[in-house]
Assembly symmetry: C2
Homo-oligomer: 433 residues x 2
């Protein structure tokens, strides 16, 4: 059966690129058994040729310029593991498709920002773009959505899409430490970058959600449609109150049908202990998909790391070698619809609210009156003193309320003299399996 | 883009067949958007033509004989939803492939028993067999294994593969009822058939495991390789002791590499509360796959029911219409290996053992001496009296012990005069995510 060779060019030899290189070599006999094809890396491109990566690079052509490699190397597939929505990654993808080669990437930013452009370009040239590795590492969620659940109208997709944030939130809970300590630990363990803002500000999760939304709902990937809130402001107090109330705080990416639109949000929220995402701890990712016929399907696994990402990259290459070429985003690019963003936001929700107040007479009356004026109905209230002489934390959970009323009430609460910090509100998401 | 029609013939119009019929009609515009093809059911076959199924059957040709339909209807794809490893289902599959049509089925028994024969036959004719619906309903686990994780050596696959058993075990725990009561409840709710033996004796789970093992490890599907134990003997006592010890009892199907062989077992076992399967309750299914590069991936969802099964059947049809035709069992049939069954069994394990003893002096000494002779080292021991004057239940958990020593000790314990029931042993599976 082994009758032809798939030639691969690899742009980027960082940890993921090196892992792809090694995995391809190690799995070569198994892959040829599974595909009837030989796989050969014929060219690589990376910044520093002298660096020892533990790879045998003798037989491959080294390119200083990844774009040149995409044009001239004679590869069937160009794999881009450089990253970034623009710059070299953009140019490599563009050159790859212009030169009639298939493209495989782990680059979520590239597709979240330029998904429509590249998908159109690939389809016009009858080429494919593999991007399973761009969302949730080893978890084959793109395949599950685009192929495994292709017979469904998708009602919602949500998930823990960023391992760094999930690690930090888990760590804060388990070690009862504050955000900065947990972030430092994450850096020490290699789970957070020196500049962690893309992760902790929710941008990385939003890139992934943009792609998931497109595949799930057949809409043009549009990063700007995602409302984003990161986890910097989550305090150890919130974590411990959540625990007391029977919740876990998770940074979720959520895309859900709201009439004709799709709401896309990334924010930290409280989910009931026992709900399907609550037990997902550390750097793991998990995604729940609700299909009209399938019901809910939930997938959990390693969302980052060199080997899990390489697993997905290589699976995409194997798909191409087997002739598996579904529509890149689930429908052809010309059939993608634009999301009607302005109506997308869901108008009601439940909230956790934490106030830090000076325990003076009359303060609770002021708080209660503000809530009453905005028709905010409370489900529970907790009060705890930090230490003698300090301010008191007052925690409330609400019933279903109007989002805009909530925003107004938070503004009003922050104006009360005895409220000494900005009130913190965290959505309570009633996620059921 | 809509430029051709996929003609479908449907054998079997029970609950699943009817659901496929309805889903295809309902999703027709969406599917044509996703595939560029029109789908049309041109023929059906079922036993009773007069029965009202709520389907508009005017435009389809009715066949009394499903085999004749497979031969003569002019369909591109024949969908078999009759069930059973032999008889009509076998003949329909055979006729479909003999007549150059693709075959889609939810029939686990057929492939567990005749997987090699039909896969060879299909491949020789360049045809495909879609069987995602045969394993775990809506959960796209075949696709995850065969395509999403195709870049991995699979180390183990295990899961809750039978919703009926999982419902019964959940019910026994939640309602503190015995096995028979839970089974009666399952029947009332439509989760168990009038003759429930295929489910509760583990046969259905073993059919599914046979298929999973083949796809995961590239071996010939061989039902006889699976060691099977059902859940009839699980008592409410075991359920409540498990709870006390921090475990849940689940019927698992497990396939794992053991040297060159693959151990395949279906049995009720104890898994630590907090481990990835422990929270899967009711009729849900879940499968954990451990890949060499991906690490563990776990998928949970509805493993049975008309709509979830129809979701998977229709996804297979959509795959075919998109030209997605991976090797049926992950490698071509000629590359499938035979599992070296005799060496497959894993030789050690941990156990929960429950004895019912008359509380006479000397009985514990006899038990302890039997354990000592076989080098069975205990981890914990619990004792509880059922009611005054009744026998005492003695529960032990062991450390890692030899399986054959365990078998010998159980025989010896059963021979002790004061041990009044057959000793019950349940494996403790150290499943970690």
């Amino acid at each position: 059966m082994t009758n032809s060779t798939i030639k691969i060019a690899l742009a980027g030899l960082g940890t993921v690129g090196s892992a792809v290189f090694k995995l391809l070599q190690e799995m070569s006999p198994v892959i040829s058994n599974r595909t009837g094809k030989l796989m050969e890396i014929i060219a690589v491109s990376a910044r520093d040729r002298s660096r020892d990566r533990g790879l045998s690079l003798e037989k491959v052509v080294w390119y200083e310029d990844a774009v040149e490699m995409a044009k001239d190397s004679g590869a069937d597939i160009v794999v881009e593991l450089i990253g970034g929505s623009d710059g070299i990654a953009f140019d490599v993808c563009d050159a790859t498709l212009s030169n009639g080669k298939d493209f495989v990437t782990a680059n979520k930013a590239l597709l979240a920002h330029h998904g429509l452009y590249f998908t159109k370009k690939a389809e016009e040239a009858c080429l494919s773009i593999g991007y399973e590795a761009a969302v949730a590492g080893a978890i084959p969620v793109i395949k599950a959505l685009r192929e495994g659940l292709s017979s469904n109208n998708i009602l919602s997709v949500y998930g823990i899409l960023n391992g760094t944030c999930n690690f930090i939130l888990s760590r804060m809970r388990e070690s009862k430490c504050d955000f900065d300590t947990a972030l430092t630990d994450a850096k020490k363990l290699g789970y957070a970058e020196e500049d962690p803002s893309f992760d902790i500000d929710g941008v990385d999760a939003a890139h992934k959600l943009t792609i998931l939304t497109s595949v799930a709902f057949g809409c043009v990937p549009n990063f700007d449609d995602v409302k984003i809130e990161g986890i910097r402001h989550i305090s150890d107090l919130d974590i411990s109150f959540a625990e007391e109330l029977g919740y876990r705080i998770k940074l979720l990416g959520i895309a859900r049908k709201n009439g004709k639109s799709v709401e896309q949000v990334v924010y930290p929220c409280m989910i009931k202990f026992g709900s399907p995402m609550a037990h997902v701890e550390g750097v793991n990712n998990a995604i729940a998909i609700k299909g009209s016929a399938s019901g809910p399907v939930i997938i959990e696994g390693q969302g980052a790391g060199a080997d899990p990402t390489a697993s997905a990259v290589l699976a995409d290459i194997i798909d191409l070698s087997r002739g598996i070429r579904p529509p890149i985003l689930g429908v052809s690019a010309e059939n993608l619809i634009f999301n009607e963003d302005e109506n997308a936001e869901i108008k009601t929700g439940r909230y956790y609210v934490r106030l830090m107040v000076l325990d003076r007479s009359g303060v609770f009356a002021e708080v209660a009156s503000a809530l009453k004026d905005e028709n905010i109905s409370m489900e529970s209230i907790l009060q705890r003193t930090r230490a003698p002489g300090e301010t008191v934390s007052v925690v409330m959970t609400t019933h279903e309320v109007e989002v805009h009323s909530m925003k107004r009430v938070l503004r009003r609460l922050s104006e009360i003299d005895s409220v000494v910090e900005i009130p913190r509100a965290i959505r309570i998401e009633p996620l059921t399996f």
